[in-house]
Amino acid sequence: MPTLDRRELLHGAVAASVVANLSTAVVAEDGSARSVQRRVIDTNVSLFRWPFRRLPLDETGELVAKLRSHSIEQAWAGSFEGLLHRDIAGVNSRLVEACRAHGDDLLFPFGSVNPVLPDWEEDLRRCHEEHRMLGVRLHPNYHGYTLDDPRFERLMRLAAERRLTVQLAAAMEDTRTQHPLLQVADVDLTPLPEMLKRVPEARVVVLNHKVTGAEVMQLLNTPGAYFDMSRVNATDGVARVMRTVPKGRVVFGTHAPFLIYESAMIKVYESNLTDDEDSSILYENAKRLVSRASV
């Protein structure tokens, strides 16, 4: 079955009406149905080395090859170095350089900010003004603060002023499998809904959460809160989450290379989504999220 090339489509080789509705099959002039690739933004990849084991795709070139093999249009990349390093400016510079060297407009860097470190505001400024990032990525549990910490709210206010999307990694791995010398609890999201009411301009994407539990559902009903689906489980898990929260709040993320790249893709496929749901989780919701960025 012939397949339309995504870049052809994007560069105007096909009518704009087709571009507007890429997630549905196209009927050709001869009446035959043609397969059309999905448009996909992966909101959750990381570059460099996971501190505790080598991963099959932890060389940036190999990760990029995987992204290209699946015709991923954009991947929002954080840095594993941001978990434990304290020279965050160096971490973010290397991230930007790797995205530029390998990405070809595929990798979009999301810099680390650690509000426990002195002068973290300068890291945030550089992410926005110098690196022209779409957003930043936080690791509250690895950095040692809770979401009712005043520094977190100040970070959210400053990010909102700069129209930066904030990605908040609720976990990086199952707590049961963590290294015994580095055990960190999942981030307690309980304070987040009230904080978002006080900072309504903020946009926060919670990464690597299983998206279960009453407090999470409360959060998803709060404007400004989004979730990626990389660790949503159960065969009907993605569909359940999408159909119980306001439209537009769930985005596609793989948590690669820590998790196997195809895991999240198959989760979407097995969820038997409608075409609208499929295109919204894979592309539209993420696109809308960063459309207000001032870069």
Partner: protein
Amino acid sequence: MTAATQPFGLPAPDKLRKYKIWDSYFLPAHSADPQRFATDMKRSHSAIEKAAIERLCVFLHVGLGTADAATEANLRENPEVIVAPLKQWPEMLLGMMRLNPMDVRRSLDALNRWMRDGPMVGVYFASSKQASLPCNHRNFDPLVQKIDELGGVIMQHTWFKTSGKDSAGESTPSELAELAQRFPEIKFLCAHAGGEWEKGIRAIRAHPNILAETSGFDATAGFIDMAVRELGADRVVFGSHLPSRSLGTELSKVLSADISATDRKKIFGENLRRLLGPIHAKQGIPKR
């Protein structure tokens, strides 16, 4: 075909069918309410179809105190409930009975009733709060000997948790290794490869009679690669953990690993069919 119905992250269905996938770890709820089992079968149906899974091992309570009180009462009053799923889905499901190592006498009786006389093809030892013991306990000895005599498959739930066991009855791969060392001629399936699979694989590596089952934890990259490198593909067996875990999590572990197509076929079905050979022969079930 619309975009949402096109395979995404999966090979084409005809390629998946060539793997002849058999699932060693299928988890629909077997409870007092038979409707829950049917609901879970319905929840799983699409994933089973999309992955072209041919047969699935399901873990059934047989009234040995392994279930909640309501389910146990129902099984006592309506013993036909025990094998009802196997009668309803005979072409799909393979019955594995849940034994209680805290009650050896009744467990041995149950093996005669449900395995010797059919239709159960194996045993599942859980790590539940009730009705479980660490599998290095001597109570396991007469049970595994009887199961071996009958030709049944043995699946032992295992986890290595960084923070330690949640209950005294939980088993680790190291404890399974102790049991396997006492019975080197008997094969054991190490469910979930210990969860923390880098330790789990090491714990069972020296025991060729232990095979690692693949489900029950996130799709952490590198697992199957290490398992095949350290154990060999003959000692790895696919499990889906459907419906409480997703096809994406479990199938991708094997599909995306950097292993040969031959090894993938072993993991997806050949190894399980080999384990089931003796019990199928005893029960007169033709080879598939």
